[in-house]
Point group: C2
Chain length 384, copies 2
């Protein structure tokens, strides 16, 4: 397999983009990525999108977007695994370059979520849960993650305040990210007094509904070395599945797919958790970030909350997590999230993160998760 590098990134401001359509936000970000990479023509394209069918009534977007970018007839594939669709698109783009099939691949993620109302958006997101055994009973994702949070609190003594601190930390980072949907700081008190969604999770524990896209350009490392920019290599990839129904798991505080995907990615990169300098992880709810830290082996089982409280994951901490603001502050256009995570890590490793730059970042990781953890995609990146 050939070595693969990321040579370009493109992202625009996320939020409620009512004046833009799916194709518009895609083209804007893809053009930025092409410009950043210094290439005009691609060989192939991947688009991660969870449910363009339910959100905007449009399937077949891989061809639609290739055409609007002026790249047809190149091959273009849409891939989906709920909220990990962007990470999966990146993985398949990686495999395509590694195989020798293509030289320059554009990977994008996109979701236009605010063209439907809140009820419809909640329904669409709920299709990532097991509709026959979970959705049927009326539960949606805040409820599923609330069960995980309550179980984690009971089993490990994780506190309500520790959950809030995840959101506070991510908003602190997001305040330094001009592309974030909610680029401002919040306090623990604000989280604890915000509207209850599903006990113990309140509105400020939840990532928002967002319109947004993100795009990156991949090529073989040998080609990247000639491009005149710091070379960021993809040295590990892992993808794993678990039951999508929470009720089928042995332990609802443990993210087995994240553990398995992480294990593969660490092994492939030849890295250990303590060697990762900066991470973007899937904080769709505050509890998720805590469970992910544990499943990736960054802390012991049950110690995620405490580590957050002690500041380990802050920008200047031992293991900076979600320097972009995470899903919580940056926004969570579900299919785009995994690709935006890659962008943040590439910028950190290139030293382009300005106010939120992690000093001497050489090794980064992304963890992108679908549903309540039924799918996870993990990547390791290294600055050459």
């Amino acid at each position: 397999m050939r070595e693969v590098a990321v040579i370009g990134t493109g992202m625009t401001k996320w939020g409620e983009l009512w004046d833009k359509s799916l194709r518009t936000i895609f083209v804007e970000t893809a053009l930025l990525a092409l410009k950043d990479a210094g290439v005009e023509k691609i060989d192939s394209m991947y688009v991660g999108s969870m449910s363009s069918g339910l959100f905007v009534g449009q399937e077949h977007i891989a061809s639609l977007l290739a055409d609007y970018l002026g790249q047809a007839p190149v091959p273009s594939a849409r891939v989906e695994t709920a909220c990990a669709s962007g990470g999966l698109a990146f993985r398949l783009g990686f495999i395509e370059i590694a195989s020798g099939m293509s030289e320059v691949v554009l990977v994008s993620g996109i979701e236009k979520m605010t063209d439907v109302n809140g009820y419809e958006a909640t329904y669409a997101l709920g299709t990532a849960a097991d509709q026959e055994y979970e959705g049927y009973h009326g539960i949606t994702f805040p409820g599923l993650y609330a069960l995980m949070a309550r179980a984690h609190m009971e089993k490990y003594g994780t506190t309500r305040e520790q959950l809030a601190m995840v959101a506070v930390k991510n908003h602190k980072n997001g305040a330094k990210n001009p592309l974030a949907q909610f680029p401002f700081e919040i306090t623990v008190d604000a989280v604890l007094n915000s509207v209850m969604v599903a006990d113990p999770l309140r509105i400020l524990d939840c990532s928002p509904i967002t319109d947004g896209a993100a795009a990156v350009i991949l090529c073989p490392v040998e080609m990247a070395r000639k491009m005149g920019k710091p070379v960021v290599k993809v040295t590990g990839t892992g993808h794993a599945t678990d039951t999508i129904a929470l009720s089928s798991r042995k332990d609802i505080t443990w993210l087995e797919a994240t553990y398995q995907a992480g294990k593969k990615a660490y092994e492939m990169a030849g890295k250990k958790p303590e060697e990762i300098d900066v991470l973007e992880v899937h904080d769709c709810f505050t509890i998720a970030e805590i469970c992910v830290m544990e499943a990736l082996g960054l802390v012991e089982k049950g110690q995620g909350g405490k580590a957050v409280e002690e500041g380990w994951t802050a920008l200047e901490g031992k293991i900076p997590i979600n320097t972009s603001g995470g899903l919580k502050s940056k926004g969570h256009p579900v299919g785009a999230t995994g690709v935006a995570q890659v962008i943040e890590i590439v910028k950190q490793l290139r030293g382009e993160s300005v106010e939120r730059q992690v000093k001497d970042a050489k090794v980064g990781m992304t963890q992108n998760m679908g549903g309540s953890g039924g799918s996870t995609v993990v990547h390791v990146f290294e600055k050459e």
Copy 2:
């Protein structure tokens, strides 16, 4: 890139499977494919599905199906490019083996279309057209293909009877396929007197709404040689895109994406159109098969109708097309179709097609198409 072979196939009877759920029909076919291949464990999985979100309210099916097959935590990816989703899943499975990333990959296609009513199914299918520029005006696929048919008749003199002969030929083949949804013969008169759907296309020009799944197992050719069955290699793959809006094309009788994908696949396999012994092509409407024949270079532009009339594409003809019965008779569970096409070709090259066996078939081709031709995936197969 490593050479890739198909070592197992699995398919069950297609039709209105109201007593079975999405996960059930998937597991049934996947188990058949594993049994046929003689393997129990896979490294990775791809699922082609056009719109499980709109048809059964369930996204995230890649993980769901991996779990129900007892294969979690293996990586599992759902891919979509409208009705070419199955062909695309096969292509990505091919790339994964070729890259060296995996040894045994299961590729499946699935669609459960009859759990919604006819209006909802037509809406779901319509999301493969450009919703903002086509769907908005109320046109659906029978209308789009009717425009193509009328233009082909005007430009090349293709007759209404020639269109009917495509359906008659495919039903004749399908009558020999016990897994087909409509395994019976029809006549030209029956087509010409059937209910009008969108002039000039009548109901017997249209492929049906179907529940169904199909699965195949891929591995490196070196491994396949040790399995004790005839080795069927995948020697060419091509995937291309075009505008998904018919109105944006220069010539609506010409399928550019099929031409481009075919060109790539022929070149990679080192084959010419006249060297293909048997084909499965995307006859979603009778006119589609005629346009595909022309775009794949099997006949001259405009000569598709005449070739059908002269029997070239019959089972015993010069270029047997859709020996399985095609989408018309076998059924068209949209995401499954591309994988079922592969199954038919593998069985033909293995010499397992019994009553519909093409004599001495050594080289086969599949052509799977999305929307009105906005995406196409073509593969070439050879018996070793």
